[in-house]
């Protein structure tokens, strides 16, 4: 029994490690995007390998626990939850890489200016806050905080729609930078998806804490 507790502690630590890396990837890719820092963007892409390796490790550890310890009740939910959450964090890492790649492409154009800069920054900080809150909710086993994150995601989606419309309108007036606008759309789409992934994680957190499955239901 003691070995099960130890194993869960270890896999939880690995998951947090992965979560911090994913969070850092998001923050740094956004910093590179807003500051036009190509070197930082390259660093984000290079760091993604570590997240992938961690995902494999966590999956293996979870499988090991299922096969050898047959956890029940809260332990079962934790391990099951971890094996689901790690996939989402891995995707968040990949989406940050997409932002970094698009940043490198955008930086190739000297004359292009990100539009609408302030609103994208607003969207980015909402998404970043949501990820940090998600990690906090996981650490504190706080299902209320997780519900708040899911609730805040509606705002992200609304803002995303607004920005998308604004960019499409602007791209028509400024056809010289059409390619760059498409890249920016890719960035905000990635942001919106990162927000969705954070929501998925929060749903899993609620499942771990309460055993309640709230996926595909209206809150």
């Amino acid at each position: 029994m003691k070995s099960l507790v130890k194993k869960i502690k270890r896999v939880t630590k690995s998951l947090l490690d992965m979560a911090y890396r994913a969070d850092e990837a998001v923050s740094l890719s956004l910093k590179s995007f807003f500051e036009g820092d190509t070197n930082l963007a390259k660093k984000v892409i290079a760091n993604d390998d570590k997240i992938d390796i961690l995902e494999n490790n966590i999956d293996r550890m979870c499988l090991n626990i299922f096969a050898l310890n047959q956890p029940v009740a809260i332990d079962l939910r934790s391990v099951l939850g971890i094996s689901k959450i790690d996939t989402d964090f891995e995707r968040i890492g990949d989406l940050s890489c997409i932002i970094a790649e698009r940043t490198i492409n955008i930086n190739k154009s000297k004359t292009f200016k990100i539009y609408p800069f302030d609103r994208i920054k607003e969207l980015a900080s909402l998404v970043q806050d949501n990820i940090k809150d998600t990690i906090e909710a996981y650490i504190n086993e706080d299902s209320n905080m997780a519900r708040e994150v899911i609730f805040k995601d509606h705002e992200i989606n609304r803002l995303y729609e607004d920005i998308l419309k604004a960019i499409i309108k602007r791209a028509n007036d400024d056809p010289d930078h059409f390619q760059q606008y498409v890249e920016v759309i890719d960035v905000i789409k990635s942001l919106e998806r990162i927000g969705d992934r954070a929501c998925n994680i929060c749903e899993d957190i609620i499942f771990i804490e309460t055993g309640e499955i709230i996926k595909h239901t209206k809150l």
Partner: protein, 579 residues
Amino acid sequence: MFKTFRSKVNFSYFMLFFLVFISMIISIQIFLKNALMRDLKAKMVDNIMVVKEIKDNVNNSKVLQKRLSRLSKILNIKIVLANFKGEIIFQSYKKKISPVDFLNQSEIVQSEKKAYGICIRKNGNTSKEYYIALKDKKVYIRITKGFNTVIGVTSDAVQFVYIVSGIFLAVFLIINYILANFLSFPVRDIVNFTKRFKQGDYNVRLPVYKLDELGLVKLSLNYLAKSVSNNIESISMQKMRLEAIVKSVSEGILLLDEDQKIFLNNKGFFDVLEIEETNLKGKYFYEAIKNSDIIDFVDDSMNTGLKQKAHFNITLKGTFSVKTIIVTSIPIEDQKGCILLLEDVTEEFNLQLLKREFVSNASHEFKTPLAIMKGYIETLLNGVEDKNKITDFLEKINHNIIRLDNIINDVITLNKIEDYKKLFLFTRTNLNELVDNCLHILNPAALKMGIELKKDFKEKISLKTSPELLEIVLYNLIDNAIKYNNPNGYVKIHISQKNDYVNIIIADSGVGIPELQREKVFERFFTVNKSRSREIAGTGLGLSIVKHAALILKGQITVSNNPEGKGSVFELNLPVNVE
């Protein structure tokens, strides 16, 4: 059931008394009964002897009958005389007795063998009666007396004993209660004392009235309490001192146990990581420090047991900025835990970056005019015939020397401002004079470009500031406004006082600054347009000087677009009174 010492004492005393009284009552009852029975027997024997004497001495049967009848009335007894066949000779009462029945009675049977036959029994419906029989020469003599009177005496006596013993029992119980209270009083004192001591009242002491066993216990408890409270006091003093040290340190401190759980942290920890203060005790350190590299670093340090130090970049919530912190991990001996020190070095780190940048920029800025001059001088040395060309070359060399001179002057000024060791003297200054001075110096340059200098204020404004620094600021701002202006443009200077602040606005009709580069104009060696800057011998240091000077003057400088079309507006807010 008997939780308190008192109730135990009460109960045991009560039981003791109760048992004593019960046994007393029973023995009294038995003794009384026996005594009465003996007494009754003696009386009956006397009676029967009297009957025998009368029967022996009176021969006349009529007289005998008369006498016996009287005797039975006086003594309240029944007398029966019968011969050996059971035939009744005399009977003092009316009921008929058959001879067979009479001979079979237990007292008659007993009287055959003993001197007297005694029997106590019920006769028909009547109550118990005492029979005594005697065998004489020819007759049986039997007398009978009601037994109830005897019983009545005993029960009266027993009742009396009950009442007396009841009263005594009650009195004893009251005494017992008081006694038990008195005995348990010191015990209750001790219980209260230990309860209060447990709750943390270390100053509580027991009153000692006399030195019996419990008194000695109280004394030793008092000694114990005193030494414990002294120890606790010294330990808490030590703890307070340690905590004060840990708290007052501005670096973040974390103490980890062997499971990597936090058991001590200070306020500096939250300040360094810029997170909200929460209770971290008992949490794992990797739940508080949200950075994978630091987690790996600490794991490594704890596994190897070696002190390590490294710097890390951490991302902050809400902004997209990065902080640089130095983490020192000091494992405690025998791997029983670890001390983590976190130090915020973001400013130092950025400053170092800036210094490196400054050196590379400055060397570049110095090299360019030198290279140009070198080229012209080499050409001149090779020999140039044309006098006009020589003048032209020398003019260009002169221009570059002026530029080099400007750069060196600006670097010196900038260093002077940044060097906080040089204190600037704050005095009450007339702003009008200061502006007039600057305009007077810069007027020739403005006239050269056909630029109009507009002074848009009249009232006299004076403020406490460093005139030396403020002149540098105003000179640089107006100089820039002229240099980067279009020919025949204007420079407008507007000064007004709003409450405690003096608002200085310098607007120009020049080339303006693109929106994205607006933040960068205050950086060293930054110029919006390099070729233009070179043309007018600009250094790229002017606005950097302005920014630093404004900081020392406790003012704020902002830049925006000129609302009247082209150009930019610099706005400087200065406090009227500086402490």
